[in-house]
Amino acid sequence: MNHDLERRLRAALRPVDPGDDFSAKVLARTAKEPAHFARPPRSPAVAGWLAFGLATCVVLGLLLAHQWQVRRTQQGLEARRQLIEALRVTDQKLDLANRVVNEKERAPPDSGA
């Protein structure tokens, strides 16, 4: 009995050569139904999460752009303030030079000024 079962199992599980055209058949079938493998069905929950992620990215992008704009404006206004201050100091010193030159021109030669 046992021997008979063993013999039948061996016969059923023996290695069988699939044949030369096995690979070609498999490839032909996958080529026929590519969508099955490329795009698995998407559940509504996944689509929702994707939309949420996209919206979050857009909001974050806008926020970063706004912050960049604010920082750029601050830098620009600070540069403008420094420019005006630099011109003010320059003008003040040119004014001083003018005053000292005029003073020297007006002063008598032996005044030492």
Binding site: T73, Q75, G76, L77, A79, R80, Q82, L83, I84, E85, A86, L87, R88, V89, T90, D91, Q92, K93, L94, D95, L96, A97, N98, R99, V100, V101, E103, K104, A107, G112, A113
Partner: protein, 198 residues
């Protein structure tokens, strides 16, 4: 390119290379002078009651210019004035009592300004005001492309260095807007340097 390739290139093209050199060297020489190497005045700043430390390179000047309102006459004039500038550097220190400035710092600047290209436009010392003012310009074909001002007053020490093409007439036009005085810049030669009467 290896040195042997360069050498063979130079052998094959001697005339074009010479022409390029002749064409480009004057352009390089005609450029504005490099910014002055300003002395380290940290110690002075620590003792000052008020200090101004401004470093505006070409990029920052561009940023500042973008924030000047072209419809405002003053801003428009300022924009025009700074159009050819490559940098503005200001160090100014105010003290609450009379102060002796580090002469080494001033000498270091004067040495840089003694190099060819720079000319002293104004050099005056007022014994009455105990003030020294030196104004130097860097000229290229009669056009100022650099300006340096060193002033020392009993309670204030200032260095200004402007790099780039400066139209002094435009600076005159700004008179009254930033307090620009009418300077006899072209009319009178530099005043002879006299001892400060110490």
């Amino acid at each position: 390119m290896t040195s042997s390739t360069t050498a063979s290139f130079a052998r094959r093209w001697p005339l074009p290379l010479a022409l390029l050199a002749v064409l480009f060297v004057p352009v390089a020489l005609a450029g504005p002078p490099a910014p002055l190497k300003l002395p380290d005045l940290e110690a002075l700043a620590a003792k000052a009651t008020e200090s101004v430390d401004i470093t505006l390179d070409a990029a920052l000047l561009g940023t500042a210019a973008a924030f000047l309102d072209p419809s405002d006459p003053e801003d428009a004039a300022t924009r025009e004035l700074i159009g050819g500038l490559k940098g503005i550097y200001v160090r100014s220190y105010t003290f609450d009592k009379d102060f002796v400035y580090p002469s080494a710092a001033v000498e270091m600047l004067r040495k840089q300004l003694a190099t060819p290209g720079w000319e002293r436009l104004v050099g005056v010392r007022s014994a009455k005001e105990r003030t020294t003012v030196d104004i130097y310009v860097s000229l290229d074909h009669g056009q100022a492309n650099g300006l340096a001002i060193i002033t020392s007053e009993p309670r204030e020490f200032t260095i200004v260095n402007i790099v780039g093409s400066i139209d002094l007439r435009k600076l005159h036009q700004l008179e009254g807007k930033f307090g620009v005085p009418k300077l006899p810049l072209q009319e009178s030669p530099p005043a002879p340097e006299k001892p400060a009467g110490k």
